[in-house]
Symmetry: C2
Subunit: 461 residues, 2 copies
Amino acid sequence: MADPTEDELREDAGDGYELDERLVPQVRLAVATENRARLDELLEPLHAADIADLLEQIDSGPRRALLAMASDIVDGEVLSELSDSPREEIIEFLPDSVVNEAVRDLDSDDVVDILEDLTEPQQEAILDALDDADRAAVEQSLAYPEESAGRLMQREVVAGPEHWTVGEAIDYLRGTEGLPEHFYHMILVDPRMRPIGYVTLGRILGARREVLLRDITEDTFRTIPADQDEGEVAYAFNQYHLISAPVIDETERLVGVITIDDAMIVLDEEHEEDILRLAGVPEGSLTDRVLATTKRRFPWLAVNLLTAILASLVIAQFEDAIATIVALAVLMPIVASMGGNAGTQSLTVAVRSIATKDLTGSNVWRVIRRECLVGLLNGVIFAVVMALVGVIWFGSPALGGVIAVAMVVNMVVAGLAGTMIPVLLDRLGVDPALASGAFVTTVTDIVGFFAFLGLAAAVLL
Amino acid sequence: MADPTEDELREDAGDGYELDERLVPQVRLAVATENRARLDELLEPLHAADIADLLEQIDSGPRRALLAMASDIVDGEVLSELSDSPREEIIEFLPDSVVNEAVRDLDSDDVVDILEDLTEPQQEAILDALDDADRAAVEQSLAYPEESAGRLMQREVVAGPEHWTVGEAIDYLRGTEGLPEHFYHMILVDPRMRPIGYVTLGRILGARREVLLRDITEDTFRTIPADQDEGEVAYAFNQYHLISAPVIDETERLVGVITIDDAMIVLDEEHEEDILRLAGVPEGSLTDRVLATTKRRFPWLAVNLLTAILASLVIAQFEDAIATIVALAVLMPIVASMGGNAGTQSLTVAVRSIATKDLTGSNVWRVIRRECLVGLLNGVIFAVVMALVGVIWFGSPALGGVIAVAMVVNMVVAGLAGTMIPVLLDRLGVDPALASGAFVTTVTDIVGFFAFLGLAAAVLL
């Protein structure tokens, strides 16, 4: 097979942005044949984020071979883009000089992001490599709690006194070395460095030199306390369409700025956390190893085993009924399963609505009523279907009636539990995404088995 | 109870950004007493996004009363922020003049977003109210497919010829009326209006007037085809940390620009879709009515009923075994449930990794191997636990052995199916978030019941 050229690789990528799948074997081949020129040709067109993805997608062995051959492909940006687990391994493997060089290029927020997950000696080595000023900025950020605005912000800010004109701002910017890589506003501060408003760069560019900055500030202006949770920060950016926002300390002085691209990453991470937690996967990523993954998934499965045993205890109460009518054992999982699915639908909507702050004290009763009604309506439809199945399969209208009633009961309970449990957990300060699933399916299993078998024992025996 | 003052309302809101829950009853009271001054006092400090949330959280009746009393609280921004279903109702209710006035303020992308979900006559009425130029821009955007970059972009662009200097760019911006509300780059175009690079406003402001724009363009520059799916657009913004990106038509000419705040909204919506689809909730929001919600949730429950009946048919094959050893009926849901949960863990990780393009052809076998090993390890642990439960509860080591083996088998199958099914669905062009759950739990139910009951029938009878 002839090697595809760069253009072919690019062209075949089509509409999507993912890495071309053929790139990985090509890179492996270049590494195996120690063909540095070919490797550079393959990697040269890639964005740092794509190089990071590539490093994550190849196994540990070839990855080390690649890095041994071409450690210079890892610059600061690539390091920032890596997930925690491969990043730690790569930093461990690379010569200190390469890591230190890479980190020196980065804005303070990216250095903080890298340092957070490293071991103490690794942290020290990197901090030692920074300029004194950068080191102080990074250490100050690290002094804020994990997952706070203080960790997320960059210390490099573009600010000016409130009395400046557009002309003065432009002259200042032209005369300043080392402006941040990206900035979107000039923040106006009072003499005590407290932010009092901001002006978009577009407005500065569109105004005459003599215009006062304070006359062209944005209408909405929000500051973010440095100790605020990063999830709240991401919510504020999304809700109010912020592009950047000044971060203040407890004395209301400007200490940094958060930009929307960082907020977007947090939003993405919070979603990932929610999706995975709803499925009982507390954290971790595709690049984690078998043992770490097994340990992470174990607690949820253990909780589920307990709830499954609880449900079995309910079934055990009706052993006589089952021994007499084996059809009960055949049909009972259907009632539990339908309740579980309806409950999961309700709880997912509730968890998501709590996260977006759409489900509040003002409308919780309306939502609970709606979910129960939805459960009732769908329950009645499926009750009719199952009654027919009962009659056709087992020739027993009484059995059909029993399963129909149990189905309606369980699906209404599913709507009720699916909404109330996440709301209650949230009020108690427990993340509803993490714990709702186990509680809701326990309720629907127990109610499902109890309603069906109990009714059967009462009516059919 | 004395009315809380504005400051109290604000202060008590604490760290979060959600609406103060007490605001809703206060607003209702102001409406009921037709106290317009109080209403303005309550709403005045709110951002448009919060006013939209408020309108969504109150019931239809009070909402109409509020709008009848103060229709002017609904401006263009508030309309943009509303969800589809209340927006349609509010537009229907408000006088045309208010709606038209509101829409005239908006950038073209926001008008498109509002129009998309309206009925034909409502669309016509709003289009008629626009200037000819705005109307043409909006109609051109609407000509692109739904959920494409063309729908998402704003037509208002800031572009200049490639030979311009910083000074020429500043003079142009100062001399131009009606610059877009927000813009972050000046796009450089060739004489045929094809974008060839862009310069951040920060760089323009930091450079001397005689510097050529082409000498200070960004290193990475990406154009977005107008017919590209908006999900891919959001992915590109997140992956490459874009702030804005030019959109081109099929002749590669500049037709609009997408900014990161719109991409962030799409990312948020795509996540919402994934979370809900994984739980079998195809779309819709908290503000939908009972009937609409019931209809939406029905298909997934119907699919689940079919799979539950399939599982029951497996159980029915072993009626004799169950009639002889009723303990089988008591224990069988545990095996199925553990498999279902382990499978859901694997499939959620797989679905999420496919969405973030981390799971690809290069590492799919590695991931499958890992998931099966994780299933095996956790399976062995829970097998030991269940063997003990079997012995202690039912006094039968043979029954303990049977459930242990069935547990291991089902959890390995869960890891395998939980990864392979989403990957296969994705290759077939079916959204793995939507369909994986039903398939995976069908597999784990059937394998769980079959392994446990089949083995029991072979060993214990």
